[in-house]
Assembly symmetry: C2
Homo-oligomer: 402 residues x 2
C-alpha cells in the first residue's frame, strides 16, 4: 500500500468534499443549530434537530479547529451550534432532550443517555477551542450527571420491570472510554485514571467473553453472566470494533502495550465474525447462537460500522505491526470507497442493503450526521501520517546507525 497517496486521499476527501458539505448544507442560519436530514445532494428534507447530531457536529468542528488548524468558519460553525445547544438542548438543569423542533422547542424528553455523552464531547472540545469556562462547566457537569445515571440511564422512561431481569449494556462503558479522553483537560488525573480503569475493565474483562472465544456481547446480566434472551444474544460487530480503537487510544495514553495487543486481536476477531462471506461488508446485528436477530435491519451494511473498522485496523497496524490489520484495512477500504462513497455528490451514503446497494439515498438523517465519515477520514489520515513519520524516523535511525 502506498501510505503517502492513501493519506492524501483521506485528507482530500475530508477537507474538499465532506466538510464543505456540512458547512454549506447543515447550518440553520435562521434559528441556529444544524439540519441533519439531508438528501443526496444536501436538500433539507426534515428540520427536526436531534441532540446526538447537534452535539456531534459541535464536537467535529471544534475538534478540527483544535487539531488541524484554527479556521474561523469551523469555529463559527461549532460556536453557533454550541449556543443553540446551550440555550435549547436541555431543560435548564443539563437534562439533555433527545430532540427539538427547528426553533428549539423540546420534542422528545431526556430519556437517552447518549444525548448527554455527545453534549459532553461537544462542550469539551468547544471549551478547548474557545477557552470558555462556561462551556467547560457544561461539559464537566454533564459528565458528572452521566456517571450518576449509570445504573438507570433512562430514568422514569425505563420500561423494564425492576427485579425480573436486570441487564447491563456495553454501550455506556464503551463510550465512556472515549469520553474520558475527550475531556481529560477538565478532569484531575486521579479521577481520570480511575474512570478509565473501570471502563476498560468493563469492556475487556466483562463484555469480552472467553467462553465465546473472546467475542464482545452487547448485554449481560447485572451479575456479569451471559443471558440467553434477544438482548443477551446480540452481537454488534461494528460497535465492538469501534470500542477497540478507543481502547487502543487508551493503551497508548496509559503506556499499556498488552492492552493494545488485546484490543487489536479482538478487533480482528470481531471483523472476521461479522464479515458477510457472500456479499462482503460487515453485518449490523448478529445473534451469538445463530438465531434470528430481533432487528429486521440485521443484514444491512451501515457506513459507521465500516468506517470504525477502518480506524481500528489502521491504528492496530500502526501500534502493533500486525499485517492482518493491514489486510483487513485494505479489504474494508475497498468495500467502503466502492459502496458508501457517492461519486456524484459529496458526503457518503449511510445505509446499504446486504448486497451493498443503496437502501436510503440520504446523506444525513435522524441517526447520521456530521460525525462518523469526517471523524473516520480524519483518524485514518492522521494515523497514516504517523505511520509514515514513524517509518521515516526508523529508516533515518537505521541510516544513522549504519
Amino acid at each position: 500500500m502506498n501510505f503517502k497517496q492513501l493519506s492524501q486521499q483521506y485528507k482530500d476527501e475530508l477537507l474538499d468534499r465532506v466538510l464543505p458539505f456540512w458547512l454549506e448544507k447543515s447550518q440553520d442560519k435562521e434559528y441556529g443549530g444544524y439540519f441533519t436530514c439531508l438528501d443526496r445532494d444536501g436538500r433539507v428534507f426534515d428540520t427536526d434537530k436531534f441532540i446526538w447530531m447537534q452535539g456531534r457536529e459541535v464536537w467535529m468542528f471544534s475538534m478540527l479547529h483544535n487539531n488541524i488548524e484554527p479556521r474561523p468558519e469551523w469555529l463559527e460553525c461549532a460556536r453557533q451550534g454550541g449556543e443553540f445547544l446551550k440555550k435549547y438542548g436541555h431543560d435548564g438543569n443539563l437534562n439533555w432532550y433527545f430532540s427539538l423542533d427547528r426553533q428549539g422547542n423540546p420534542l422528545v424528553e431526556p430519556y437517552n443517555i447518549f444525548s448527554y455523552t455527545f453534549a459532553t464531547m461537544a462542550f469539551g472540545q468547544l471549551s478547548k477551542a474557545t477557552g470558555s469556562q462556561e462551556y467547560a462547566d457544561i461539559a464537566r457537569r454533564t459528565f458528572d450527571i452521566i456517571l450518576s445515571k449509570v445504573d438507570n440511564p433512562k430514568g422514569k422512561w425505563n420500561k423494564l420491570h425492576p427485579g425480573t431481569r436486570n441487564l447491563k449494556g456495553f454501550a455506556l462503558p464503551m463510550i465512556l472510554c472515549n469520553l474520558a479522553l475527550e475531556i481529560e483537560h477538565l478532569l484531575d488525573e486521579d479521577f481520570l485514571r480511575s474512570t478509565i480503569d473501570t471502563c476498560v475493565s468493563e469492556v475487556m474483562d466483562v463484555f469480552r467473553r472467553p467462553e465465546l472465544g473472546g467475542l464482545i456481547v452487547e448485554n449481560l446480566n447485572s451479575d456479569n453472566s451471559l443471558i440467553d434472551c434477544f438482548e443477551g444474544r446480540q452481537i454488534t460487530p461494528g460497535h465492538a470494533i469501534e470500542a477497540m480503537w478507543f481502547i487502543m487510544d487508551l493503551g497508548e495514553r496509559l503506556g499499556r502495550p498488552e492492552l493494545i495487543e488485546e484490543a487489536k486481536n479482538t478487533a480482528l476477531l470481531m471483523a472476521e465474525y461479522g464479515w458477510d462471506k457472500e456479499f462482503g461488508g460487515l453485518f449490523y446485528f448478529m445473534d451469538r447462537n445463530g438465531n434470528p436477530p430481533q432487528q429486521l435491519e440485521w443484514d444491512q451494511k451501515l457506513w459507521w460500522v465500516h468506517i470504525e473498522t477502518l480506524i481500528a485496523m489502521i491504528k492496530g497496524y500502526r501500534l502493533t505491526g500486525d499485517s492482518r490489520c493491514l489486510e483487513w484495512f485494505e479489504r474494508v477500504h475497498n468495500y467502503t470507497w466502492e459502496h458508501f462513497r457517492d461519486k456524484e455528490h459529496p458526503e457518503w451514503f449511510g445505509y446499504l442493503n446486504r448486497r451493498g446497494e443503496v437502501l436510503l439515498p440520504l446523506k444525513g438523517g435522524k441517526w447520521k450526521g456530521c460525525f462518523h465519515v469526517p471523524r473516520g477520514l480524519y483518524q485514518v489520515w492522521q494515523t497514516l501520517e504517523k505511520i509514515q513519520k514513524e517509518e521515516n524516523e526508523k529508516y533515518a535511525s537505521i541510516a544513522t546507525t549504519n
Copy 2:
C-alpha cells in the same frame, strides 16, 4: 378463478398445516402460555412471552372453536393460554404488561396499549367459547381501560414532551373498529354504535386524506391537520389495507353499502400505492413526500401486509363485485403463496427482503405468532365459501325465474 378449488386450498392450509404447527410447537406444557419464538421447523429459540402474541393465540383458538367447530384441543389450547394470561399477564388491575419471562414474571411494563387490545380480543372470544362470566368481565373491563387511555396510551412511559407537537395515531381507532365487533356480545347496542361511529369517522374522515388523493396516513396533528415530520409523512400500506376490511365488516354489520364502497376503493388505492413495481410485493413503510423513511426495514416484504391485503381484496370483491379486487387478490395470492409459504415445513415465513428472499427463517418471533397467517387463511376461506354460496343462490334464483 376456481373459487371452489381455491377455498379448499385455504382451508387445507389452515387445518392441516398451520394450526397443527401451533398446537404442537407453541404450547408450553410446563408453565402454560405459548412459546412464539419458533424457528423454521418449530424449534423454540427463545422462551420469553410477549403479551400481544399470548392474547392473539388465545383469541385464535377460541375463535376457531366458536366459528368452525368445537374441537376440544382448540378449546384446551385457548383455555390454558387464557389462564396463564389471567394469572401473569397483568399487574392485578388489568394493566397488561408487554412481556413476561417463561415462568410469567413481568419483564416489560404496561406501556403498550395493544397488549390491552389483544387481551380484550382474547377474553372476548374465550368468554364465548367457555360461557365464563369471569373472562367476559376481563374483556369488558380491559376495553373500558383502553377507552380511558385513548389520549395518552403510553402513560408515564410517553417520551414526547407535552405541548410542542401533539400527534394522534391511526393504529388505535383502526384497531378499535375491529375490537368493537369482537366483543359486541359484551356491549349494549347504543354504546357499540357510538363507539363504532367514532372509530369509523376517525379512520375514514380524519386519517384518510382527500388532499392526498384519499391515502391514509399513520399520524396527524391532534387538530387533525397533516404534519411534515417523519411520523407525519409515514404511510404504512398494509396497515391501511387491514383497516379497510375491518371497515367493510362494519359496513356489512351496519348495512352501509356506501361505507363498503369507500373502504374497497381505499384498499385498491393503498395497494396500488404500496406495490413494488420492480420486485413485486408491498412495501412495509413509505414517506408520502418520497423522502427516506426513518424505518430501515421500509422496503421489506412482511407476511401480514400481504395476508391482510388478500382478506381486503376478497371481501371487497364479494361485497362490491369490483373486478379490480379480484385482479389484486390474484396478484397478491400468487406472490404470497410463492414467497411466504414454506414448502418444506409448516407455517409461513414472515420476513422477506425487497427481492422476496427469506430474510429471517423464523416461523414465529417477538412480533409474529399464531395470528395473521391462520386468521387470513380462515377469512379468505370463509369469504370464498360465501361467494360460492351467494353465486349458487343467484343462479338458483335465475333458474327459478326462468
